[in-house]
């Protein structure tokens, strides 16, 4: 029942309607907004309190000390990093003249990635940024802070960060929203050091899309480079999947899906947006179930599709209730319950499953299963509190 005529009609009408409303936004307005954004972010960070002030003072002090420091000086970090592992490509000794220190070569991006991947095979780069002293925006007085958002880190429990900095002053890198403790994954700070410093943070609880920021208190011509790598725990499985139990045919209605703890009583998932055999229900947002399921860390959680019907694709996550006052439900994913499975053709011969198991992690979770079937798909939700 592919109705090309109405599809073409719809395309034409939508384009005409969109074209009838001109866009008046200009590049100048956009740049103004960007400056405002950065200014607000910088002010927000500056207001965070004494820590920033102390960092500034330490940074200026470190800048002075850096003039005569030994190149082998290590960087103090928290959580604790490994020792510097990579020498810069230039080994010229710094001098008291800042301009002479500006252009000390930093490790290349490839060298930083190689340093970070050592001992972490399979980790992938999610953020890479560098700032050449000659490209620093604006005019900063020596010792002034400069905050750069270099990317966003996806949900994971394991990051490896490699950073190098050339010039006078102090740097800090951080991952996470400083205003939201649950999103603060880690940070490190110390005097600018052109030798790569590799830090590792793991076992963190962070929501998705946490910013990675580099915060420098430096000579305006300092240069730095950072790479952020994460474990590939959330990469979709492209190799297909055999079902735990042979698949049974689906029925006339969207399959029910239930969750059980250690093989005990099962609780049916509450259904959000769904579509099945030509009909669809559109929820305003995510569903935050009122019924709470209790479990203990280490318990086996099982999600099971009724009647052994098989899903052909799935994305199941532990998430946090991030619903704002008066707003429709919003769940922010934190961990994958099982590896995500994509299946563009909805082909059960390629990927099929009717049972999904995960060891419970402590937390107050909204478990969200987005299941695709050859006949449709549905969003299912459970509220599970897992005690440590």
């Amino acid at each position: 029942m592919h109705d090309t005529k109405i599809e073409e009609q719809l395309r034409s009408v939508l384009r005409a309607e969109a074209d009838s409303v001109p866009l008046s936004l200009t590049a100048g307005e956009l740049e103004l907004r960007l400056r405002l954004r950065r200014s607000q972010r910088a002010n927000q960070r500056m207001l965070l309190g004494a820590a920033a002030t102390v960092a500034l003072a330490v940074g200026i002090g470190a800048a002075v000390l850096t003039i005569n420091r030994n190149n082998n000086q290590s960087v103090a970090t928290s959580p604790s990093p490994s020792a510097p592992v990579l020498a810069p490509s230039s080994t010229a000794e710094p001098t008291a003249n800042p301009s002479a220190m500006v252009f000390r070569d930093l490790p290349t991006e490839e060298a930083l990635i190689a340093a970070a991947q050592e001992g972490h095979p399979g980790f992938v780069v999610v953020a890479e940024a560098h700032e050449d002293g000659s490209l620093v925006e604006g005019s900063f007085a020596p010792g002034e802070r400069s905050i750069h958002q270099v990317g966003f880190a996806p949900v994971t429990d394991h990051y490896v960060i490699a950073f190098a900095c050339s010039g006078l002053g102090e740097f800090t890198w951080s991952i996470g929203d400083q205003n939201a403790p649950t999103r603060n994954a880690g940070s490190a700070n110390g005097p600018c050091d052109p030798e790569a410093t590799v830090s590792e943070v793991s076992d963190i609880h962070m929501e998705t899309d946490a910013p990675v920021e580099v915060d420098t208190v430096t000579d305006p011509h300092a240069s730095w480079r950072i790479v952020v790598l994460v474990a590939q725990t959330a990469v979709p499985d492209a190799t297909g999947h055999e079902p735990s139990v042979p698949c049974q045919p689906s029925g006339a209605r969207l399959p029910k899906v239930s969750l059980s703890v250690d093989g005990g009583n099962s609780t049916a998932g509450e259904v959000g947006t769904s579509a099945w055999k030509g009909t669809a229900d559109d929820a305003a947002g995510d569903v935050i179930p009122q019924t709470v399921i209790h479990a203990k860390a280490g318990d086996q959680l099982q999600i099971r599709i009724a009647d052994d019907v098989c899903a052909s694709s799935w994305s199941i996550t532990y998430g946090l209730d991030a619903t704002g006052p008066g707003e429709p439900g919003t769940v922010r994913p934190v961990w994958y319950f099982v590896p995500q499975q994509q299946n563009g053709g909805s082909d059960l011969a390629f990927a099929a499953e009717n049972r999904f198991e995960s060891v419970a992690r402590a937390g107050d979770w909204i478990i969200h299963a987005d299941l695709g079937f050859p006949d449709g798909g549905g969003q299912y939700y459970w509220h599970v509190i897992v005690e440590p």
Partner: protein, 177 residues
């Protein structure tokens, strides 16, 4: 403009982004929100986010889809944030006399789109205005491709019905599917 230029945050990248993608993002946002001012906000926030987060993008070929996903999320966020339910009934843009058949159909379709649930409307806009594939629409909306396929089919059924209701027996071709 290349993604690499964006990652390097060259000053001209913002203007280039606006020139290349502003109109399309504006169209997507406007068709979802039906508010010109909000749609311009979505364009600005989308392009600034892209400017600042280009490092996130792993597959440069997916840049346009990535932009449209950001824009759609902003647009749906605006709707959620203001908790508005605005159903615009489009008035034919012709002066006097009976509206033409084409104009009547246009009004019926736009009315029908405006009355779709917001996620379904977003799916329709991304599929039929932005010409994204079903898989890209699914990725943009965080749903499975099957969910999107079913939503689009349902949306087309409803729009077909809107056309039929409007033109009555004069639109037999709108019912054949």
């Amino acid at each position: 403009m290349t993604v690499e230029a964006l990652r390097r945050r060259r000053p001209e990248a913002l203007a280039d982004l606006l020139a290349m993608y502003g109109k399309e993002i504006h169209g997507v946002a406007y068709l979802i929100l039906r508010d010109k001012s909000d749609a311009e906000d979505v364009v600005a926030e989308t392009l600034l986010t892209a400017f600042e987060r280009a490092g996130d993008l792993r597959d440069e070929k997916a840049f346009r889809t990535w932009l449209l996903r950001i824009a759609t999320n902003y647009a749906l966020g605006i709707r959620r944030g203001t908790a508005r339910i605005v159903r615009l009934h489009v008035v034919p843009e012709i002066g006097g006399g009976d509206p033409s058949r084409a104009s009547t159909d246009r009004v019926a379709l736009l009315d029908g789109v405006a009355e779709l649930p917001e996620q379904m409307r977003a799916a329709v806009v991304l599929r039929y205005y932005a010409d994204l594939s079903v898989e890209d629409v699914a990725a943009a909306l965080g749903k499975s491709p099957n969910t999107i396929k079913a939503q689009l089919q349902t949306a087309l059924d409803r729009l077909r019905q809107s056309l039929a209701d409007t033109v009555g027996a004069s639109a037999p071709e709108a019912r054949h599917a």
